[in-house]
Symmetry: none
DNA sequence: CATGAATGAGTCTTCATTCAT
DNA sequence: TATGAATGAAGACTCATTCAT
């Protein structure tokens, strides 16, 4: 009875396990170099079983990519929409979150993967634009406009190019992926410096 | 006359043609999805001929990657080392160059490719770190320090994190690759805004 | 009914079928000239299936070579170890067995293949030395020493060079492979004559 | 003038150089694994030049095989036809020659190659049968018959199976090729022992 | 549902042979 | 004659996908 307890799990759970395995392998080796068989092995199931949950290899990638963003985005939105938090603190919080939740985890590999493969998966790119970027940029724009109104931005025009806010995040992901072995990048300093470049010092802060 | 002049070209020229073909296809489809046979076809030669010039597919990529950076870097260095040009103009010039020479051309695809595949080609990553990044960052640091001394930076600490300078370039490349079809990004505005965020307005400039 | 029973056979059986196909083709054409695809076709399976059972072409050869010797060797050992059989009869029996079981069958092709390719498959050569030759020579030496003690050998020193015993077998294999179409070799006479050269006539035998 | 002395050599000499190179490489690696380009390189010429002297790779092999036997055979014939030399000495001389001229040199590789590939080159096999084996066996038969008449053979019937005489030579070639690294074979002892098995001790010889 | 043996299209790479120079 | 760049057929091996069990 304990023998075959592994079979016939909850479908949703099984699906999640497969995605987790795919995530690990895509992160490590990239899309092309990951074999379905390895994903299956890592998920502890047989090759064919993967196909019971996903029509093909691409679906594995698109599912993964789509499912990855939402949780984090929600938390970010929550923070950004809280008008009682000062804009600078919001952005600081977002950077802290990016640092610990993305750069500090395997998620950064997935983001790199998105950067790498996204172009060849229009479904994914469009999904991200619609559900992540549009939303995220709107949030940022709102926060930055609030900051501009309060006279906290060194250059108020930044509010019109909110993409600049996540440029350092992308740069850090790329650096970590490619060059960290050769030269360490201290992302906390990156974000802190950038924050101080965007925002004037708060009152009571030493320059 | 041009018909059968195909045989026995200058080796250097032939090599360049192959690289050009590989560049086009890698840019368009990525490394894994490009077949040597397609590279050959595009170069107007037979499959086997590619192997007379490059030992394998990887070599094609590494050659390409290595050969791509130097020319541009040299021009950038020249500009950055000219102390008679004010720092802000130097950075403005670099952004202009990035905009026209990278973002405005196919080279941006190659850069994306580097971001994507670099991790799996340590030779390339190390080459870039040593020959491009180290050099480029040193240049930027020098320019930024000069700016700091002259009191032109909004946040002098930026001189210690010169990577921030090219963060918007990377962001733009990624945006163009993935999201441009869905939402246009005006890179000139991106760079202009960022420049104004880094630097205080010059005298005589309107904010 | 036999039509589509092709899928999912007993792995051991499938393995044996592949080896049988490989045996036939290697025998006929040699190692280099045999294509995996042909082996598959002959076994009635797809190319890829071969690779489910053997890691590569070499493994096919080494498996084949290794698996080929034991059965016969065992029977020979049994005969040679039976001290109640007079030495001359033992050797006669071995020759009879070689004649009918090797020279008279496709196995002789395999032996030729071993002679041909063995040098390039050290694994195989060592395997044969350890498991076939060492054992076989020890047996022969024992039999010959017994014969020498009983004064049955024309030249007792032969016991010290038991390799001489199988020299005619190798010669016959080579002859059959290369020259039989041009000139028949009667192996029974070869072995009989050699036997009479090694051994003195038994009592009661006419010279 | 010394510059291009290498070009335009005597065709016969050039041909010989190519054959020598082919011999070395075929011996070392076998027929399939030897590339024409390597033969050319070893002969110090360009790939295409080989084709000015031999129509294809096979011709290289057949030429080589055909040209290899004659010189040695001639010397053997000379010895065998000298009726003043006692038969036993003739055979002893032949073994000595085989030992020093074949087993002791690279020629043994070529003989192994003949054994290996001969089957797939009927031209070669037939050539050898007609020009080497027929001749050689006739010589041996004659010598053995002379020995039989003189009552020097332990088993006079050997004269009817002269192939037995070269069986130990083949065995030694095969042993050296495959098993020498694992166990040394002393060919002098092999031949001496076999000689004493074929022939009765000469008068004045100790057994 | 789950399995994993089987499939075969797809790709890299090699190398005998040709032929313009 | 000699060269060696160019060719392209050939073959080993991979892996996404299917499907009988």
């Amino acid at each position: 009875m304990t023998e075959k307890t592994r079979r016939r799990r909850d479908p949703e759970e099984r699906r999640a396990e497969i995605l987790a395995a795919a995530f690990a392998l895509f992160s490590e080796r990239g899309f092309a170099a990951t074999r379905i068989e390895d994903v299956a092995a890592r998920a502890g199931i047989a090759k064919g079983t993967v196909y019971l949950h996903f029509p093909d290899k691409e679906a594995l990638f698109t599912s993964l990519a789509s499912g990855m963003a939402s949780p984090l985005l929600a938390r970010m939105a929550e923070m950004a929409n809280n008008d009682r938090i000062p804009p600078k603190s919001v952005i600081a919080g977002l950077y802290a979150m990016a640092d610990s939740e993305i750069l500090g985890t395997d998620r950064r590999h997935m983001l790199r993967l998105l950067i790498s493969e996204g172009q060849f998966f229009p479904v994914v790119a469009e999904f991200y634009h619609r559900n992540v970027l549009s939303v995220g940029l709107a949030l940022l724009r709102r926060v930055l406009e609030r900051a501009a109104e309060r006279g906290e931005l060194r250059n108020p025009k930044v509010a019109e190019v909110p993409q600049l806010v996540f440029a350092p995040v992308l740069m850090s992901i790329i650096w970590k992926s490619l060059f960290e072995p050769y030269e360490h990048l201290d992302t906390k300093t990156v974000f802190a410096t950038f924050l101080e470049t965007l925002f004037l010092p708060s009152e009571g802060e030493a320059s």
